[in-house]
Amino acid sequence: MLKIRNVHKKFHHIEVLKGVDITVDKGDVVVILGPSGSGKTTLLRCMNFLERADQGEMEFDAVHLELMAASSREIAQIRKKTAFVFQNYNLFQNKTALENVTVGLTVGRGMSRMQAEAVGMKALIKVGLADRANFYPAQLSGGQQQRVGIARAIAVEPDVILFDEPTSALDPELVGEVLAVIKQLAKEGKTMVIVTHEMKFAAEVATHVVFMADGNIVEEGSPEMMFVCPKEERTRSFLRRILPQIEYNI
């Protein structure tokens, strides 16, 4: 469904992505792992043009385009097929929870307000926040804000949802509620690409795991293969550092 090939991206002469390929099929939950600075977030942001790649191609269903030459019309088209969940939520501060979810439907897609509110409430119910529909972001906890962020993403029924470290900014006790929502979406067969540092969660939801380091994909495969017997030493040392208990478990 979504394929990107040979993505290169430089920031001030530092090469952050050095020719990355990634394929996402319908129903996939692709989890991208890797140390900080490995280019995971940049890759995700290149996928919906929040960053403009210097080189690379994208195939999205029937659409085929060069990443660096895509017109603003093509970019808008891709953005309407995707949704993005940010590390720091980025809820619209001047909108209530419900308005945060509906503005992409009414303003962005021309849906009637009544219809959009029905869709929006359904999305809020799904993330367990129907009772907070009329609260402003400033009145919500971090976990609640991120769940509204997820409701905002699913309401537009995107072909793929991109998650950029959705729990990294949360207090530890709030991480669970957000991960539970994402697990539920995985169960329903939603197509997702997730950058995360939550290993247990990654092992649980992923259908495909990608390990990145220094702007390259080092290794990828099924979660069983990647977590139990990774081939590359770079992957192993990363997992050892982030999952010390794995040594004892084995």
């Binding site: 919906n48 929040l50 808008a76 953005r79 309407k80 995707t82 949704a83 993005f84 940010f86 720091n88 980025n90 809820l91 619209f92 501060q93 001047n94 909108k95 209530t96 503005v103 992409g104 303003v107 962005g108 897609r109 402003y136 972001p137 400033a138 009145q139 905002r152 537009v156």
Partner: protein, 238 residues
């Protein structure tokens, strides 16, 4: 010292009757300047090159010269320039018969464009870049993102500076007497000149400005509370 109370009263009424002129100068200037100011603010935030240098030079020039000088300059240059322009187009317009208030609108608008652009620039700069990114990801176009997400938030953080600017402009319009516009100050001065009751006249003008500026500050206070509802809830909780 003996004050002429009957003159004080009579002139106060005249000054109060001139409030609409002062307010008109202020409101017209701010509204006329707003779109240009927004444009300059956006250029200064997001553009490079010739356009940026041009608008920066404009803002620097306006901020770097006393408004009295701007008034004198425009008031002596603009009529001649207009006359030359009209003659060039073959029109026979008597530019010197033009109501001086239009020159006042011109000066105060040109001045406000520069000052207001800085108010907008600081307000827009305060909005986290993530708000625009989230709007684009939600399927909004850039103009839609500005209209529904960015500008409503920028307006709230601009309110205190906007109030400052408006109140300063109200006081600044007192210089319109230089262009023979009969605002509050000019009205009082003219009244005083007949019998040299300057102290009374100045006291009346004083009262007039305090009154107008107090009301405007109150209005801004309520406006800020209204457009910033979403922030107040946080303050109450915190």
């Amino acid at each position: 010292m003996e004050l002429d109370y009957s003159f004080l009263e009579k002139t106060l009424l005249l000054v109060l009757l001139a409030i609409p002129t002062t307010l008109k100068l202020t409101v017209v200037s701010v509204l006329a300047a707003a779109p240009f100011s927004l444009f300059i603010a956006l250029v200064r935030l997001h553009r490079r090159g010739a356009l940026l240098r041009l608008v920066t030079a404009y803002v620097t020039f306006v901020r770097g010269t006393p408004i009295v000088l701007q008034i004198l300059l425009v008031y002596s240059l603009l009529p001649s320039a207009l006359k030359a322009g009209a003659a060039g187009l073959g029109l026979s317009v008597d530019v010197f018969a033009l109501n001086p208030v239009f020159y006042a609108y011109a000066v105060f608008t040109l001045n406000t464009i520069a000052l207001l652009s800085e108010v907008f620039r600081s307000a827009l700069g305060n909005i986290a870049p993530g708000q625009m990114e989230a709007a684009l990801c939600a399927g909004l176009t850039k103009p839609q993102a500005y209209a529904y997400i960015i500008l409503p938030q920028a307006l709230v953080s601009a309110m205190p500076n906007l109030c400052n600017l408006t109140v300063n402009l109200i006081k600044g319009t007192s210089l319109a007497f230089l262009m023979t516009v009969q605002d509050m100050t000019a009205t009082a001065k003219i009244a005083a000149s007949y019998g040299y009751n300057y102290i009374e006249a100045y006291l009346d003008v004083f009262v007039g400005y305090v009154l107008v500026c107090s009301v405007v500050q109150c209005l801004f206070h309520y406006a800020e509370r209204h457009v910033g509802r979403y922030r107040l809830v946080r303050q109450k909780q915190g």
